[in-house]
């Protein structure tokens, strides 16, 4: 034994913990700087910190460490999707069916527009369809984070949250239908073609239902003390993320479904606390920073054109759908155009869908990633800025933001 055994090893081996601390600290400081001096939403700071610390710029946090953060990233995204699901009121779609029509129209038009332009730049149909399907998804983390930070309330905010959750579901379904078709092309197993999507959909919904029943039973037991509820719900949400991963179910569908059911079946309104408070904030910071660090900027040169084309078509499709049905759904054209802007962001869910596709079809995944990730990189700041602009212009942000 060395005489200096009491001194720590160098470099110290502490696992990933210090990296989380570093990422959190840098992101939180960057966020505060932006919020205080530039009066911009904190999430821009979180994204910047992630990019700077990540392997692309400084390399302080390398790819291996980032890969190790995948579990936390899933929990963070899971919590976001759960909260988003809780904000969705299925009854609203019944009371205002034009909203459902709006959502189907904007998703379908965006898909068609993206598919056509990607074909036009001579992409393979299958690839174009997959990219277009992923492009249906809009960014739940940006929507939730900005709603929280701006304390936004109103029709643009509510509809953004509703359409965003529906878009995540549509994207998931579209991608899986396409994948089922791919199974048929690439493999002999007819069974897997049908069984896999069915397993994903019904398995995920069943898990969401079981979790909801467990949550509501637990809340009935705990009563309305917000602190106790918070811990119980958080534990169940984390469990949900791990069970969904272990059973190879869809994280997106499980967590959204869990949130939606937890609200719809809570007829006695037992949920006392909806937000995840400071802890939710920490998860959001990590989600933005880790996602930003993961983004592969090297793909940009080869994917920029296709990515930009995809984004333009996506925006046109979504805006057309939202604007066309605005009067019928009871929204002014001005607010509808702002709502269309809030549907720009695309990030975590799209990345998961790329990831899932790559896991099944590695060859296809690489090309797909080039386009979609390029689009996401371009949107990372632009999309959040569009949403921020729209919420402030709609007059739905808190007073301090108004001039």
């Amino acid at each position: 034994m060395s005489d200096l055994f009491f001194l720590p090893d160098w470099p110290p081996d502490l696992g990933a913990l210090p990296w989380y601390a570093l990422l959190l600290l840098a992101a939180a400081i960057a966020g505060e700087v932006l919020a205080r001096w530039l009066r911009l939403p904190r999430l821009f700071g979180w994204i910047a910190a992630g990019i700077v610390l990540g392997p692309q710029i400084s390399g302080l946090i390398d790819a291996k460490t980032l890969a190790g953060m995948r579990g936390v990233l899933d929990v963070a995204l899971g919590v976001v999707l759960f909260q988003l699901g809780q904000r969705v009121d299925l009854g609203w779609l019944r009371r205002n069916p034009w909203l459902l029509a709006t959502s189907i129209a904007e998703a379908a038009l965006a898909f068609v527009a993206m598919f056509i332009v990607l074909l036009a730049i001579e992409m393979k149909p299958l690839l174009a369809a997959l990219a277009a399907a992923i492009g249906i998804a809009t960014g739940p983390a940006v929507a939730l984070s900005l709603t929280r930070e701006l304390r936004a309330q109103g029709q643009v905010t509510e509809r953004m949250l509703l359409l965003t959750s529906l878009n995540c579901v549509y994207a998931f379904l579209a991608v899986n239908i396409l994948l089922a078709w791919l199974h048929q092309e690439y493999s002999e197993h007819v069974l897997s073609m049908v069984a896999h999507p069915l397993y994903l959909i019904f398995g995920s919904l069943a898990l969401a239902f079981v979790l909801t029943a467990a949550t509501l039973a637990l809340l009935a037991l705990l009563g309305r003390r917000p602190e106790a509820q918070f811990i119980a719900v958080l534990a169940l949400v984390v469990t949900a993320v791990y069970v969904a991963t272990a059973l190879k179910l869809s994280l997106v569908l499980v967590m959204l479904g869990f949130g939606v059911m937890a609200r719809a079946l809570d007829t006695r309104r037992r949920f006392a606390a909806y937000g995840f408070g400071r802890f939710g904030q920490i998860l959001l910071i990590l989600l933005f920073a880790i996602t930003a660090a993961t983004l592969d900027l090297d793909l940009l040169p080869s994917g920029a054109l296709a990515g930009a084309t995809l984004l333009a078509a996506r925006y046109v499709g979504k805006a057309t759908g939202v604007l066309a049905l605005a009067p019928a759904s009871g929204l002014s054209m001005r607010k509808a155009s702002l709502l269309a802007l809030t549907l720009m962001p695309m990030s975590g869910v799209a990345l998961i869908l790329v990831h899932d596709t790559t896991a099944l079809f590695p060859g296809l995944g690489a090309t797909l990633a080039t386009i979609v990730v390029s689009a996401i990189v371009m949107l990372e700041v632009l999309g959040s800025a569009a949403t921020y602009f729209a919420l402030v212009q709609a007059g739905e942000a808190e007073e301090a933001r108004k001039r």
Partner: protein
């Protein structure tokens, strides 16, 4: 700059008009939400009964009826307004609720509606303006002339505790049970020009008072007075402002009918001596009504008699019965009698809270009651 004297516009005696301030809450946790401008944008598109207007914050809306001679017509219009509101709110995923105050909103979360007058009030009164996120029912009664209006205003003061206790629907405020049946009026009393009108029975005297107040720069218009009852010369009415917004429009119409009957009785029979001395017990009685509701005590300073508000109300209902018949108000007045016996909205709210267990659930039940009550 000299203000021109206020001219009291003549209006048909005993006609009624009602204004209700209503709460707009979200469907998630039932907190007040920013929805007034979106809701107005929808209701303005189609012609509808009554008027729907913005109020000082984005989570409030004010509806008002036209002028009515009869309770039945007033009720019908209020029900039509409710149907319009509920249909529009459903499309926007917002709920409309009655009640004098939101049980758990935090005043710092409120946003002031973007209109010059509201922004001005907000600047002058600071947090009071936001704390003033309370919801009242205003009842206008037509008067033949200014002297009648002033007589009614002062004769009515003796009976205001009835109206406070009957309408009280703000037991919870900022997340706690205030122990008051109407906590809303406490928020109103904080304003410097709240309280009672000065004693004057001639319109010319009142005008002299108003001229001095405006010449000294204390007020600019009648709008600056937050009195419990105030004359509204441009409408030719007196405006009774002590009521909390009830949980249903049916109860709002019944309260208006009670005011109408009281006014007819006061005008025709002149049962009480109307003098400054009436006001000796005014704030005491008003406090009793706010705090204890129908179980509160009402003191008559002229006879030194005391009774519970419910008893005093029952006696008054007997005295005015003939006039209720004349005005076709027997049904609403028997409803008033039932409230006096069985309890007001504040009591219903406390029971609903005990049953549901959360204030969010209580607001949900309030909004259900608003839309479904028949």
């Amino acid at each position: 700059m000299a203000t021109p004297p206020l001219e009291f516009r003549q209006s048909a005696p005993l006609t009624l008009g009602v204004e209700l301030e209503l709460q707009l809450v979200n469907t998630r946790d039932c907190d007040l939400t920013r929805a007034a401008s979106d809701l107005l944008a929808l209701t303005e598109k189609k012609p509808h009964a009554g008027e729907i207007k913005p109020e000082i914050t984005e989570s409030m809306i004010e509806v008002s009826t036209g002028i009515h001679h009869r309770h039945a017509d007033l009720l019908a219009e209020l029900q039509q307004i409710r149907a319009t509101l509920v249909a529009a709110a459903d499309r926007l995923n917002v709920r409309v609720a009655g009640g004098g105050a939101h049980p758990f909103q935090h005043w710092s979360d409120r946003r002031i509606f973007d209109r010059p007058r509201f922004q001005h009030v907000s600047q002058i009164y600071g947090y009071l303006a936001k704390q003033f996120t309370v919801f009242g029912q205003h009842i206008h009664v037509g008067c033949a002339d200014g002297d009648d209006a002033l007589y009614l205003l002062h004769a009515m003061s003796r009976y205001l505790p009835h109206l406070i206790a009957l309408s009280a629907s703000s037991p919870y405020y900022q997340g706690v049970d205030t122990a008051f049946d109407s906590s809303r009026l406490n928020a109103v009393f904080a304003f410097p020009l709240a309280g009672r009108a000065p004693f004057a029975l001639r319109w010319s005297e009142f005008n002299a008072y108003f001229e001095r107040m405006s010449a000294s720069g204390i007020v600019e218009s009648m709008k600056d007075f937050y009195w419990d009852v105030r004359p509204k010369p441009e409408f030719g009415t007196i405006e009774v402002r002590v009521c909390d917004t009830p949980l249903t429009v049916e109860r709002a119409a019944a309260l208006a009918a009670y005011v109408q009957v009281l006014c007819r009785w006061l005008l025709v029979e002149r049962p009480d001596r109307v003098c400054e001395e009436n006001y000796l017990a005014y704030t005491y009685n008003r406090f009793q009504a706010c705090r204890f509701g129908l179980e509160g005590e009402i003191v008559d300073p002229l006879t030194a008699s005391r009774a519970s508000i419910a008893e005093d109300l029952a006696a008054t209902l007997q005295a005015v019965a003939v006039h209720a018949r004349e005005l076709g108000c027997e049904a609403p007045l028997s409803e008033i009698g039932r409230i006096a016996r069985e309890g007001n909205d504040a009591r219903w709210m406390r029971e609903a809270f005990a049953d549901g267990g959360s204030l969010a659930d209580l607001v949900w039940q309030q909004s259900e009651r608003f839309r479904t009550a028949g």
